[in-house]
């Protein structure tokens, strides 16, 4: 058992992970089960009250290591070697009941998606104080009092009553703060933050990040902060550990990692966003023009697009930026005819496109293709890549047999994937490869416009970067135009020729990239721009101090 005296102490070593080795068994279809090693002999130490950032791409083993500090293996992961010494004892030797005693008491967990991590059937307060009551750290009244204080500290609206709400009645950014309050409520020594702001809009992320940072500082809890975003972790962490493929790449204090990275891989992470993209001059007449479009869901009750007008020029990219709920994707749905506009018109190549999808010709359909955020669910998992890419060839051009196969091979070549991928299934590809296949499928129709809806949002920065480069190359070769929907302004700088900033269904700023990104800014664009994390220590304080308006997510 941990000695109460050492638990109370504010300094000293809290966590000492030595030579941690974690395995998992996978069951690929049609093959014998394979055992893979997810974490290779990683060691780390954490002092009381300090924050260690774990950073890396997906598959780096960050979450797996974070959860190992609670002795937890997600989805069949097994800790097969090493020691996890917490408060002076190896928790892996304490058995199941020993682990249950420390979970929720000495170590708490904040998940990436608080929306999924809260039980929809119970009120928030019951869930927030559950661990405190279970471990007997406080009586109900005292625990609720502490929870309300934490809600207040984390900047939640109506802290006295928000606990009476159910998870679905609270926004994503607020839930993330409630989850942080839940983790802090039982006064643990360590909190594992697993990508707590990744799923949020930039404008919301900054508030949540500041709330988490202040809460950590004020309560003196130690933290493992897991993220793939170096700029985010630089704002909260004392030290940063870079991981790749389950191995340690580099470990140092925050300043050293972001200013003087010693490893090549760290350097690549630090300098990932920079693609130079020269803005193209708009031609006189756009080929696609959206005029005063208003669209709504539920027979006109919920207007999600209000009087939107934008133009798209041949071979150029219009980026549509805004936070979730601003109507970006709805604009795409209106253009493709999936959600026929109530008012306004869409002109394509000089003639008006019919609003409804069913009234458009096959040729009109061919000219507008889409690539989605979630490549996994945008492909039929039971079809091989050749069928997936070959389908638009058959459908629009009637290609068959060898001719089709040759064209599929050409397209695979264009997306920098070899012919060998033709017979593979989506499940065998990585996230980036899947997105490439989706791009090839869109390209197969030889469209004039590809609508890219958050195509890089679910990808690791380095992979996303590769996708952006590919899109730019394809644009140069094929002359295809993009309507690029994103919430990420860094991506916008790399790819856009013109930009439309959307806020609550309206275009609040529109023009060429250089115009839109040059001051003076309207308040919302200013908020968006200033919310993008910069790889700069102390950025967060400066950004919060200089803001002119609150984000819509609050």
């Amino acid at each position: 058992m941990p000695d109460e005296q050492s638990r109370k102490a504010k300094s000293g070593r809290l966590l000492d992970i030595r030579n941690l080795r974690i395995e998992a068994t996978t069951y690929p279809p049609g093959e014998p089960p394979k055992t893979i090693t997810l974490v290779h002999d990683v060691s780390l130490t954490l002092e009381r009250g300090k924050v260690l950032g774990l950073i890396g791409e997906s598959g780096a083993g960050k979450s797996t290591i974070g959860l190992a500090s609670m002795g937890y293996g997600r989805g069949g992961c097994r800790i097969i070697g090493g020691e996890v010494v917490l408060n002076g004892r190896d928790i892996l030797k304490g058995g199941r009941s020993g682990l249950r005693k420390l979970r929720g008491r000495e170590v708490c967990y904040v998940a990436q998606s608080a929306a999924a991590a809260f039980n929809p059937a119970h009120q928030l307060m019951d869930q927030v104080v559950e661990a405190s009551l279970l471990h007997g750290t406080a009586k109900r009244a005292a625990a609720e009092k502490r929870a309300v204080e934490l809600f207040r500290k984390l900047g939640l609206p109506d802290p006295e009553n928000i606990g009476k709400r159910y998870p679905h009645q609270v926004s994503g950014g607020q839930l993330q703060r409630v989850m942080t309050a839940m983790a802090l409520c039982s006064e643990p020594d360590l909190i594992v933050f697993d990508e707590p702001t990744t799923a949020l809009d930039v404008t919301t992320q900054i508030d949540v990040l500041a709330a988490i940072r202040d809460a950590i500082r004020d309560t003196g809890v130690a933290a493992l902060y897991i993220t793939h975003d170096l700029a985010v972790v630089a704002q909260v962490a004392d030290e940063i550990m870079v991981l790749r493929h389950g191995r340690l790449v580099e470990w140092g204090d925050t300043r050293q990692i972001i200013k003087e990275p010693r490893q090549e891989y760290t350097n690549a992470l630090v300098s990932v966003h920079e693609i130079e993209h020269q803005e193209k001059k708009a031609a006189d007449t756009p080929f696609l023009s959206v005029k005063n479009v208003t669209a709504a869901y539920g027979q006109g009750t919920v207007k999600v697009l209000k009087n939107v007008s934008v133009d798209i020029h041949s071979g150029q990219t219009l980026a549509v930026v805004g936070e979730s709920g601003s109507g970006k994707s709805t604009l795409a749905r209106a253009i493709t005819g999936l959600l026929p506009p109530m008012e306004g018109s869409i002109t394509f190549g000089g003639k008006k496109l019919s609003n409804a999808l069913s009234a458009r010709s096959k040729e009109d359909l061919r000219q507008l293709q889409m690539v989605y955020q979630m490549a996994d669910v945008a492909m039929n998992p039971r079809q091989p890549i050749s069928t997936i890419i070959g389908r638009p060839l058959e459908f629009y051009f009637g290609m068959k047999g060898a001719e089709r196969d040759r064209r599929v091979a050409e397209l695979l070549d264009k997306i920098e994937m070899g012919k060998g991928f033709a017979d593979r299934y989506p499940a065998e590809l990585s996230g980036g490869q899947k997105q490439r296949v989706c791009i090839a499928r869109a390209l197969a129709a030889k469209p004039k416009l590809i609508i890219c809806d958050e195509v890089t949002s679910a990808l690791d920065p380095l992979v996303a970067n590769g996708i952006l480069k590919l899109l730019l190359e394809l644009q140069a070769e094929e002359g295809v135009a993009y309507l690029f929907i994103t919430h990420d302004l860094a991506t916008v700088r790399s790819i856009a020729d013109s930009i439309a900033v959307m806020y609550r269904g309206e275009v609040v700023r529109y023009g060429s990239k250089s115009e839109v990104l040059a001051p003076p800014f309207d308040p919302y664009t200013d908020l968006l721009l200033s919310s993008v994390p910069e790889m700069e220590i102390g950025w967060l304080d400066k950004a919060i101090a200089s803001r002119r308006m609150e984000s819509a997510g609050n």
Binding site: R103, C108, A117, N119, A121, A131, L134, H135
Partner: protein, 319 residues
């Protein structure tokens, strides 16, 4: 309370009433197209044509079908189910005792079967894929796979004949004490429990296992809750809707599908009454019993729907 929930519930109830009228029409049409003549079956093969004609006139059989339907429906709505052709008794009063008996037997079986099935389902999830889970599934599936009459006779053989704990024939009568009644229905109730157990248990297990994939289950585990607490407190409340649905289907079966068990134990319930009168071609009785069975089904399904609505926090607590 909020209006969307009230609206949904009112919709369900209204739908149930519409459905009940549709069923009454179906029952009437069904018995109408059956071959045979009621007057003939009352008076027998030897009746004179004059007697037949007189009886038809008296029973109103010469009226058009819709008139007879409306007359029947009007009777039903005012609590008059007609008279049995074979005995001349008032159907409503003969049925009320038997319906009470059937409901009593069903309630006895349900009181044991529903909690037991849910508990076994929870345990099966707690020890999933292990020997306990397999043993529970094997027992429940075996008891369901055996035909009811087989289980019934097995129970009679051991508990009534060999060890003589319970009577082999479930006689009940007015003025019997509650304990005596329980004693009388012990064996049929056990047989029914065994029949409906597996379905509910398996559905509980499947519905909870489905929920166990959710991220909030991991949250609960990472708070240090014991596995059974995780299941009871965090998984089960989110699995209520499908479980209630299958429970209600089985309750309906307990009331409507007990024919075989009632016959085996010579229990004076609805099933036996129906079987007797089908054999005698007593159309008004068949119609009345059919309508009651349909009403039971519809009522229980409405209850299941409403429970599912109430179990959904998004409907209970709108934004």
């Amino acid at each position: 309370m909020s209006s969307p929930i009230l609206k949904l519930i009112v919709q369900r109830v209204a739908l149930g009433i519409v459905l009940l009228f549709a069923v009454s029409l179906l029952i009437f049409v069904g018995t109408e197209i059956l071959p045979g003549d009621v007057a003939q079956s009352i008076l027998g093969q030897t009746a004179t044509p004059q007697a037949l004609a007189a009886l038809r006139e008296e029973l109103g059989l010469n009226d058009p079908a819709y008139v007879r339907y409306l007359r029947w429906l009007g009777g039903v709505l005012s609590g008059d189910l007609g008279t049995a052709l074979t005995s001349g008794h008032d159907i409503a009063s003969s049925i009320s005792d038997r319906l009470a008996n059937t409901l009593f037997l069903a309630a006895c079986a349900a009181v044991v079967a529903v909690p037991l099935a849910i508990l076994l389902g929870l345990l099966a999830v707690r020890y999933r894929n292990g020997p306990v889970d397999k043993a529970i599934s094997a027992f429940a599936l075996a008891s369901t796979s055996f035909p009811e009459f087989f289980i019934g006779y097995l129970l009679v053989f051991f508990f009534a004949v060999k060890w003589q704990f319970f009577p082999a024939i479930s006689t009940v009568f007015d003025g019997m004490s509650f304990i005596d009644r329980l004693h009388a229905v012990a064996l049929p109730a056990t047989a029914l429990t065994l029949v409906v157990l597996a379905h509910m248990m398996r559905m509980t297990r499947a519905a909870i296992l489905n929920v166990m994939q959710s991220a909030y289950i991991e949250t609960a585990e990472l708070k240090g809750l014991r596995p059974l607490e995780v299941i009871r407190k965090h998984a089960f409340p989110n699995a209520i809707a499908p479980v209630v649905n299958v429970v209600m289907l089985n309750l309906a079966y307990l009331i409507v599908g007990v024919v075989v068990v009632e016959v085996i134990f010579v229990y004076p319930g609805m099933g036996q009454y129906l079987v007797d009168h089908v054999a005698k071609r007593d159309v008004p009785v068949v119609q009345a019993v059919g309508l009651i069975f349909a009403a039971v089904y519809i009522l229980l399904n409405i209850v299941a729907d409403i429970s599912a609505i109430l179990a959904n926090p998004r409907l209970r607590h709108p934004k």
